[in-house]
């Protein structure tokens, strides 16, 4: 039969076999673990990393299909997602940076500041039962708008133009906030039907304060002042020289480092050799309102002043790593006084602590800011970025200065008196 029917049967059988196999193939593939299952399996292997990608995708699909309005800018969705995810960490130093904000940060690494000309941070604070975030001027850049308006590090911004500044930690539900406490904290006018006072968050404050060329009215609270201080600030770009130096009386050199911006290490080297050639055997290193910056530039600076351990950096799940510097001849070996204040931040605090703990310099001024965390920039391909806390700096003796800051050996208040004290200390022949 096989032979007899061969001519007619073969083509038909071939088609049936091919189609059948194709169908069986499709069917089997359909029984293969679906996306959800695959994702779930990954999640078992690698923490809970991928477990919820599907939920995010589902929400996005629903928006794509059903949202009543055209979503013209998908990028805004992406930004909103990352921004809130990073905010949910409740770490004041981690944030999402739009391309504009990232450019501002890149500029700052080269000593160019926009808007207020100050580092503005959020800091946890408490009022009665209310946990909130203060918006604080952490470090003021010399010659910038804030500096010209007389604002100082430590000033808490309470009003911007007509708006009241109020920010909450990410994990605090707006529902659970005690309204009365907010009203009394901000001294809001009692609610009238006509005009509801406008409240702005840290992010909104930053938006307003980053616009070069505009004028803003700021009201700040300053420690030791009974009344809030009102100022008008003209926001403008400012370029800060990485290093300024001069010779003080008695052959003492003065070296001001505003931040560890690009090329700072080299500049310090040049300045020190100039000072040396002018016969300076002692130097006052001014780290007041130094906003910190690149740890590599800080080490380049340290290499001109010392050798060996500057401190440690600790990253998640790793043993702490020694940050040391190889001496770069000629290392300055005269007496060193270091000026610090509450605006001395991050890597500047680390340098100050190294000089103090290694007994290479004497610290004068006020307790430093207390920012011991290391941030990294995670660039995204469209020019935005995530600034993320990825580690912590510890001093050469292993001390954590986060929140506490570095205490100077000589607590002195007042800019001029701090400098005078430093000068006195390095002028005296060492005991």
């Amino acid at each position: 039969m096989f032979v007899r029917m061969k001519r007619a049967f073969v083509p038909v059988a071939l088609i049936v076999v091919v189609l059948g196999s194709f169908a069986v193939g499709r069917l089997l593939r359909g029984l293969w673990p679906s996306e959800g299952l695959l994702l779930a399996r990954f999640s078992e292997n690698g923490g809970d990393g991928l477990a919820h990608v599907g939920v995010f995708k589902t929400v996005l699909d629903v928006l794509d299909k059903e949202y009543y309005d055209k979503i013209s800018d998908k990028r805004k969705l992406a930004y909103g997602a990352i921004e809130n995810m990073v905010a949910s960490l409740n770490d004041p130093y981690s944030e999402f940076l739009t391309p504009e904000r990232r450019k501002a940060l890149d500029d700052a690494e080269h000593g160019i500041f926009h808007g207020l000309g100050a580092v503005v941070v959020r800091r946890p604070a408490r009022y009665k039962n209310l946990d909130y975030m203060e918006v604080t001027i952490a470090a003021v850049v010399a010659g910038g708008a804030a500096h010209k308006a007389g604002l100082r590090s430590g000033d808490v911004i309470v009003r911007v133009n007509d708006s009241y500044v109020f920010d909450l930690p990410a994990n605090v539900d707006l529902d659970s906030v005690d309204e009365e406490a907010v009203i009394s904290l901000l001294s809001l006018p009692r609610q009238s039907m006509q005009k509801v006072p406008q409240i702005v968050s840290y992010k909104e404050v930053m938006d307003v304060l980053s616009r070069d060329g505009s004028q803003v009215r700021l009201i700040v609270k300053r420690a030791g002042e009974s009344k809030p201080i009102e100022t008008r600030v003209t926001l403008a770009e400012v370029k800060v020289p990485a290093v300024e130096w001069r010779v003080l009386r008695g052959s003492v050199g003065y070296l001001k480092i505003s931040g560890f911006t690009a090329g700072c290490g080299e500049e310090v080297g040049k300045a020190l050799s100039e000072l040396r050639s002018r016969g300076c055997g002692a130097v006052v290193v001014d780290l007041r309102d130094n906003f910190g910056g690149s740890v590599d530039e800080m080490r380049a600076v340290a290499a001109k002043l010392m050798a060996g351990a500057v401190g440690y950096v600790h990253r998640k799940g790793e043993p702490r790593k020694l940050l040391s510097v190889a001496p770069e001849e000629p290392v300055f070996n005269g007496r060193i006084a270091v000026l610090v204040n509450q605006g001395t931040m991050g890597t500047a605090e680390l340098l100050a602590s190294a000089l103090k703990e290694r007994k290479l310099g004497v610290l004068v001024g006020a307790r430093t800011f207390g920012d011991g965390l290391e941030q990294a920039l995670v660039p995204l391909e469209d020019g935005s970025a995530i600034k993320l806390t990825v580690g912590k700096f510890l001093t050469a003796s292993g001390r954590d200065f986060g929140g506490r800051g570095i205490e100077p050996s000589y607590l002195v208040s007042g800019d001029d008196r701090q400098l005078a004290k430093a000068l006195e200390l390095v002028s005296r022949p060492s005991a």
Binding site: S21, H52, V59, V62, N84, M85, D175, D178, L377, E381
Partner: protein
């Protein structure tokens, strides 16, 4: 029969090969149907020195690089889980669920539409309960005064009443967990639960020397959405407080009862009614509007759909009708008020309404029991008015002053009564009575 030759063997082999190829083709082609858009598993960023060059990132029409939301979310999630330090090297303490929810909420917030929002599983459950009009609970209304949570009201024939709870009682803790400073929603969440289970409330009451723990057995609670009474002059007053699955049915019952008591005029109070289900709004409006459209909805792209009066719902004797509205009458309340105003089925009295001319659709997400509430349509009143941000303008505007509220002087209700008694525009009720007599 002849023996199989080499040619036949070749043929069989050929068939086998062919079927194998077809199987593979089928397998692969089916895979194309559902393989997810590629989620990059390799080459994740390791700050600080990863430059994360990607091959040809997607660009939009203007040539700018477009960050895809899924990719961006995934990238951020990975880098946070891998590298975030935390306060003391503990890393991220939120699980990927919390981070994902934060991302979703952030994404939705970027739309600047307050009604499009993500509902976590417990919020979704609560919304479903509200829409059903019943839930497992104790039957007490709570309010927050400063940072204390008090019992405002105890509903009749509920576990709360049987357990002796009283208005004014302060709830300090639920099942031993302090609720001081907690939001009222969170507290309600803790107190609600499956019917038949026990909840232990730590209660402070005037006259108690110290807090007392009271056990309450949860039951099915059906909060009333309707309050109905007959006013002087046979004017029925019906207050509808929400549009859930029971609203239309309850209204039908109340109208029948009022009809039995010789209703000659009707005040439908929709003040402070925040709305609810669209289907119920259409059903409720159908009780008063005779025919034609109740509301028109429009999706993205402009396609419109009209909801007409539902057959069989217009079953009560028409009487002069006044609808009371205020700033807090929203959504479904505005649909009903708008339909009644536009069709002349009644007069709208009070103040301008909330102004929510948008319809949301609940999309459950089966993966984790959450849901996303998405604004899917605009809506228009029967005459095509867009009320978004504008609200419904009342036919007769009556504002309540702060003093009116303090002294409980309900001038809006008084105006409605006056209208129905014919003291304003002729004599609607008397006219009806005259027709009858």
């Amino acid at each position: 029969m002849r023996k199989l030759g080499i040619r036949d063997l070749c043929l069989v082999l050929f068939c086998l090969l062919l079927s194998l190829a077809a199987f593979a083709a089928g397998f692969v082609s089916a895979g194309k149907d559902f393989v997810p858009e590629p989620v990059r598993l390799a080459a994740l960023p390791v700050p600080p020195d990863d430059t994360m060059a990607l091959s040809a990132p997607p660009r939009d029409s203007s040539g700018e690089v477009q960050l895809s939301p899924v990719e961006a979310y995934y990238r951020a999630l990975s880098v946070i889980q891998r590298s975030y330090y935390g306060k003391n090297g503990e890393g991220v303490t939120l699980d990927s669920k919390r981070l994902t929810y934060a991302a979703i909420k952030g994404m939705l917030a970027s739309l600047n539409d307050r009604y499009t929002r993500f509902l976590e599983p417990d919020e979704f459950r609560r919304m479903e309960e509200e829409n059903r009009g019943e839930f497992g609970g104790i039957g007490a209304r709570l309010e927050k005064v400063k940072d204390r949570i008090l019992i405002k009201d105890v509903l009749k024939n509920t576990p709360a009443q049987r357990a002796g709870l009283k208005p004014g009682d302060t709830i300090l803790a639920v099942d031993g967990v302090s609720i001081a400073g907690m939001s009222i929603y969170k507290a309600v969440d803790l107190i609600r639960g499956e019917r038949g289970t026990i909840v232990k409330l730590t209660i402070l009451r005037k006259g108690f020397s110290k807090p007392k723990v009271i056990s309450v057995k949860r039951d099915l609670i059906r909060p009333e959405v309707i309050q109905a009474k007959m006013l002087e002059g046979n004017i029925a007053y019906i207050k509808l407080t929400a549009f859930n699955q029971t609203s239309d049915q309850e209204l039908d019952r109340a109208l029948a009862e009022m009809e039995r008591r010789n209703m000659q005029g009707l005040i439908l109070d929709l003040r402070d009614n925040p709305g609810g289900l669209l289907s119920e709004a259409v059903a409720v409006a159908s009780r008063f509007v005779k025919e034609g459209p109740v509301v028109i909805i429009q999706e993205r792209g402009g396609r419109r759909r009209q909801y007409n009066v539902l057959p069989g719902k217009h079953n009560h004797k028409p009487v002069p009708l006044v609808v009371l509205v205020n700033k807090w009458s929203a959504s479904a309340s505005e649909i009903v008020a708008g339909a009644i105003k536009d069709t002349g089925a009644g007069l709208v009295v009070g103040t301008e309404t909330w102004g929510k001319g948008l319809v949301q659709t609940i999309n459950p997400i089966p993966e984790d029991g959450s849901a996303v509430l998405v604004t899917t349509h605009r809506y228009f009143t029967p005459r095509g008015t867009d009320i978004n941000h504008k609200g419904i303008q009342p036919d007769v505007r009556v504002e309540l002053t702060e003093k009116d509220i303090e002294t409980m002087n309900d001038r809006q209700l008084k105006e409605a009564i006056a209208i129905l008694n014919g003291q304003r525009f002729g004599s609607p009720v008397k006219r009806v009575q005259a027709q009858k007599g």
